[in-house]
């Protein structure tokens, strides 16, 4: 067979896992693998949550992208100009043309704070912050250190966002942080969401709403933020409600990478790539696959999702190149630890069909699900090591497969 060429756009969680897994499946004389990214900084994104509280430093959670890739993977540090789907070619902004047999889209999302009126106006990075970027998280750390009480509002502007539990975790950690510093009593802590409940899924929402109430955090729902006025210190909704703040922590709107819009037929109105829910082949063309935050799949944008997807995607790229039928193997499996402060965390595990339920993971003798425990917090901490050393290189974690385990869960009977 002639040597195939696989081009992977994005050297983050999804692109790195896909590249390393594919490298193991093909000898270098069977396929060349190219990874493109605009920079050489791979951020361990779950770590950003801890930066504002001084519990992690940015330099501890960033490593070179190149170093996470196996031998015989070519790395191109360049911005993608566009993808010519008809011609099976990627154009980079330095003029390089990369023809491909298979394209993998793994360019994640970008933050769009400028799409919300006033958000990046007066007060941006002074009393209005986001911890969703390394720079924002560092600036927020300084602001929090000076914060001496008042109204702290945490808002997610609209879904979809990366890691939908992260803003909740932030508010739990803020509560803990402020109590430790003895200024919780003079702080009004408010969680403001466009959803009609604390979270996207009903059973988990109830548990999380209970935790918010216990920690005396006010919950404001169905608030579609339309305008921020950093001078007047107000957050306004499209339906005319106004909330006052002294410190606003926002999760801005998300969209796909800029080149998606410049590539006809690749993405939707928000720049996400329409992708088959079970095979991870895109609607663009039969040799274009996608994984991670870049897709439009109806499941959380999270590293665990990307990890489970990587296994199915790799198999399907191999099958496509061999002219075989794809495996419809992805079930929407997601799991995540939710930090709740005071050295504790919750764990949730779910998929397209099954919402997060109580029980244990992965079996009846595993970690407690939907319940605060110290063990889950230790699990979250240990996860960073596993990320760099097991997940990115594409090693299997014993006992944790891509499909959601049912044993151990208290499944509701319909």
């Amino acid at each position: 067979m002639t040597r195939k060429r696989i081009v992977i756009l994005g050297g983050g969680t999804g692109g790195t896992m896909a590249a390393n897994r594919l490298r193991r499946r093909f000898d270098p004389d069977e396929a060349e693998i190219h990874v493109v990214d605009r920079d050489d900084r791979h951020v361990y994104q779950p770590g950003l949550l801890f930066v504002p509280f001084g519990l992690a430093r940015v330099d501890e959670i960033v490593r070179p992208r190149r170093r996470q890739l196996r031998r015989d993977i070519a790395f191109h540090e360049a911005e993608v100009q566009s993808v010519a789907i008809e011609r099976d070619e990627v154009e980079l902004d330095d003029g390089t043309i990369l023809p491909y047999d298979v394209l993998v889209v793994a360019t994640g999302v970008r933050l769009l704070p400028e799409e919300t009126e006033g958000l990046t106006g007066p007060g941006w990075n002074e009393r209005v912050f986001t911890f969703y970027s390394p720079e924002g998280a560092e600036l927020l750390e300084r602001a929090l250190a000076w914060f001496d009480g008042g109204r702290l509002v945490v808002n997610l502007v609209d879904m979809p966002i990366k890691c939908p539990v992260a803003p909740l975790e932030f508010v739990f950690l803020a509560d803990w942080h402020l109590r430790e510093r003895g200024i919780r009593k003079r702080t009004e802590l408010t969680y403001v969401t466009p959803l009609d409940a604390a979270f996207t899924k009903p059973v988990a929402s109830q548990h999380l709403a209970g935790l918010l109430a216990e920690k005396e955090i006010e919950l404001v729902t169905e608030f579609n933020a339309g305008e921020v006025d950093g001078s007047a210190r107000t957050l306004g909704s499209y339906d005319g409600r106004t909330l006052e703040f002294d410190l606003l922590v926002t999760v801005p709107l998300h969209g796909g990478a800029p080149y998606v819009e410049r590539s006809p037929g690749l993405g939707d109105a928000l720049g996400f790539v329409p992708t088959d829910t079970h095979t991870l082949r895109t609607a663009a063309k039969d040799n274009v696959f996608a994984l991670g935050d870049a897709t439009d799949l109806p499941i959380s944008k999270a590293g665990s999702v990307t990890h489970f997807e990587a296994e199915i995607l790799t198999e399907n790229v191999v099958r496509h190149l061999a002219g075989k039928e794809l495996q419809a193997g992805y079930d929407g499996h997601a799991n995540c630890f939710i930090e709740t402060g005071f050295h504790k965390a919750l764990l949730i595990d779910f998929n397209y069909e099954t919402e997060p339920l109580p029980g244990h993971f992965p079996t009846a003798f595993g970690l407690p699900l939907l319940r605060e425990s110290r063990l889950n917090h230790l699990g979250k901490l240990a996860f960073q090591w596993a990320y760099w050393h097991a997940l990115l290189p594409g090693r299997e974690i014993p006992g944790i497969g891509p499909t959601m385990p049912r044993s151990g869960k208290q499944l509701l009977t319909a």
Binding site: P160, G226, D239, D268, A269, L270
Partner: protein, 105 residues
């Protein structure tokens, strides 16, 4: 099976009043649903959004979010909230006779 109080008792709706079978929809039903939900009269701007939602749903199997509506329908998000107070995507879907948008994860 829950049915709505609107003209035809055989129209099947979910507990929140969204039509379960989009093919049962017509403009008279749309006007009744609008009135029941506090939109007294459907103007051309309302119809533009309602038809956009419905056509998109019938073509792709998914209804657009408010953000996508704001980008693609030709009606800004601000105006969408004026036309359909509270939740434009939900209300336009309901009036357009398509199932409740799954929303987001």
């Amino acid at each position: 099976m829950t049915t709505t109080q609107i003209d035809n008792p055989r129209i099947e709706v979910d507990p929140e009043g969204f039509l379960l079978r989009p093919e049962q929809w017509n403009e008279t039903i749309a006007e009744s649903i609008a009135r029941e939900n506090g939109v007294a009269e459907l103007t051309d701007r309302h119809w533009l959004v309602v038809r956009f939602m419905r056509e998109r749903y019938l073509a792709t199997g998914a209804a657009p979010s408010v953000r996508a509506l704001g980008k693609e329908s030709g009606v800004s998000i601000k105006e969408l909230y004026e036309l359909f107070p509270k939740g434009p995507a939900k209300l336009a879907a309901k009036i357009g006779g398509i199932p409740k948008p799954k929303g987001c994860i």
